[in-house]
């Protein structure tokens, strides 16, 4: 069907693209993890009928997250281009890619974290109150402990979504495996091999993330039970 022997030049390109993708994923992953986790907590604790109701805060954030998730990602990137130029003086490549990936990642992580916390047994809030725990202790000794496994699974899902989104950033010059698979592969005559090799690397990356995430979540779950 296709010959998986790439030329040395193409091999180097795929290696570079893999590194690009990993860097994009790490940087945008860290940013969206931090911001998304904070927002997810706010959504889950301050929302309607939640333990600490602060409706307006949660409602505003919830609308923001939904709006971000509604914008087609390619459009989001194109919107970011002039903003990126005004803020950082660059409208191509790494910076606009990271900004748009972080924005969409933040929205994805927020919802996953919200879900993970909403899923835990609501009795812990009464329990923590009766034990006289303050807000920080509630978080540290109750919510965090209970939701750990769910959070890890949520992060895993978000990271895989980010990996999928990162395949499109070649449109703004961000490189990565999407660039080798689509621009150098699909859009180029005789690009079949590099297209498939890039895709296979993507499959392997998703598998690694998923397996590690599931293992960690299972381990934390066991630890909690004992």
């Amino acid at each position: 069907m296709f010959n998986l022997l790439l030329s040395p030049v193409d091999t180097q390109r795929v290696i570079d693209a893999t590194i690009d993708t990993i860097v994009l994923l790490l940087v945008s992953g860290i940013i969206s993890l931090v911001l998304g986790t904070i927002t997810g907590f706010i959504l889950a604790l301050y929302g309607k009928n939640r333990p600490h109701e602060k409706k307006w805060v949660a409602y505003t954030l919830s609308v923001l997250v939904s709006v971000i998730r509604s914008i087609p990602f390619i459009l989001l990137m194109v919107i970011i281009v002039p903003i990126s130029f005004r803020m950082f003086g660059t409208s191509i490549g790494f910076i606009p890619s990271i900004i748009s990936l972080s924005i969409i990642g933040f929205a994805t992580v927020s919802r996953q974290v919200e879900q993970a916390i909403a899923d835990i047994n609501p009795q812990i809030y009464d329990l923590s109150k009766s034990l006289g725990a303050n807000q920080f202790q509630l978080f540290r000794h109750f919510i965090y402990v209970e939701a750990k496994a769910g959070l890890i699974l949520g992060y895993t899902t978000s990271l895989i979504s980010l990996l999928a989104y990162s395949t499109v950033v070649f449109i703004v010059g961000g490189g990565g495996l999407g660039y080798t698979a689509i621009q150098l592969g699909y859009y180029t005559p005789n690009g079949q091999e590099i297209m498939w090799v890039s895709t296979i690397i993507m499959i392997i990356m998703v598998q690694i993330i998923q397996i590690l995430g599931s293992m960690l979540a299972r381990y934390l779950d066991k630890k909690k039970r004992n």
């Binding site: 940087v27 860290i30 940013i31 931090v34 911001l35 194109v78 281009v81 002039p82 130029f85 950082f88 003086g89 660059t90 409208s91 191509i92 490549g93 790494f94 910076i95 990271i98 070649f170 449109i171 703004v172 010059g173 961000g174 660039y179 621009q183 699909y186 859009y187 180029t188 005559p189």
Partner: protein, 271 residues
């Protein structure tokens, strides 16, 4: 949170310092085959002349923005009409510095043939698939006019739309699709009639030869204006490095390469 800001600012400093390095490199925007390959071909020769070329590869729809912002020095992605759209919309001063190749534009069919008197006898009411965008649709209509299938209203050329069709003796039905989908639609309909670029025909339905060319766009003064060109800004058009770049871009070596590797879809636009 504070740590995050420190991290983000460090990151941007690092990224920006990456952008600043190599102020003496010539940055050229490229996107689709064969432009990146052509620049690669002359990279070494330019280096021998003391010019380091760096390619910026991103979606061609966005590549005029960095050129206008002076982040890159030129791009190899467009013909003058596409450039004009950008200039008008952004009050920019991009200029065509050097045409590189003429894409072959052709009427395709696996069903019909041209008879001995150069007539194309298509069935009455046949559907023809055309690209829908504002640049390629007029070009396709002009091609149909050259092929004798329709006539356009007096004076309508590169801005023609379906409303400007004066006569349509074969009662052709026009189906508009995006460039890539035109080829798919043509294939799905039994490869009867469509106007498209060979490069898209190859990408979409793996039709990489001229076996189904029914009528090729004649190269004349009007169609020559569609040449895919090297575009710069007005202010750096005379930059000695740009002049040197054009010199290499129009070398016999490049011409031969286009003929050998892309001859099925393009004609070099320089001597």
């Amino acid at each position: 949170m504070k740590k995050l800001w420190i991290f983000v600012s460090l990151l941007s400093i690092w990224a920006l310092s990456g952008c600043q390095q190599g102020a003496d490199t010539l940055k050229i925007g490229v996107n689709f085959y064969p432009m990146p390959q052509i620049v690669e071909l002359i990279e070494a020769d330019l280096l021998a002349d003391g010019i380091k070329v760096e390619m910026v590869n991103m979606d061609y729809n966005l590549l005029n923005t960095p050129l206008n912002n002076k982040e890159i020095d030129g791009n190899l992605i467009q013909h003058q009409y596409f450039m004009q759209f950008f200039n008008n919309a952004n009050n920019a001063n991009l200029v065509v510095a050097q045409p590189v190749y003429h894409s072959i534009f052709s009427l395709y069919s696996a069903v019909y043939e041209v008879d001995s008197e150069n007539n194309i006898n298509v069935e009455d009411g046949e559907t023809v698939y055309l690209p829908e965008d504002v640049v390629n649709l007029p070009r396709a209509l002009l091609l149909l006019q050259s092929a004798g299938l329709i006539t356009l209203k007096e004076g309508k050329t590169v801005t023609a739309t379906l409303d400007d069709i004066e006569s349509n003796p074969k009662n052709l039905k026009f189906e508009l699709k995006s460039l890539l989908l035109t080829a798919h639609a043509y294939n799905d309909a039994g490869r009867r009639l469509a106007v498209m670029y060979p490069s898209y025909a190859k990408t979409a339905i793996d039709l990489g030869d001229d076996s189904e060319f029914l009528f090729k766009e004649p190269l004349n003064e009007l169609t020559a204006t569609y040449a895919i060109s090297f575009v710069t800004r007005e202010d750096n058009r005379q930059d000695p490095r740009i002049v040197k770049f054009i010199e290499h871009l129009t070398s016999p070596k490049v011409k031969q390469w286009i003929l050998d590797n892309y001859g099925w879809a393009a004609i070099p636009a320089f001597e």
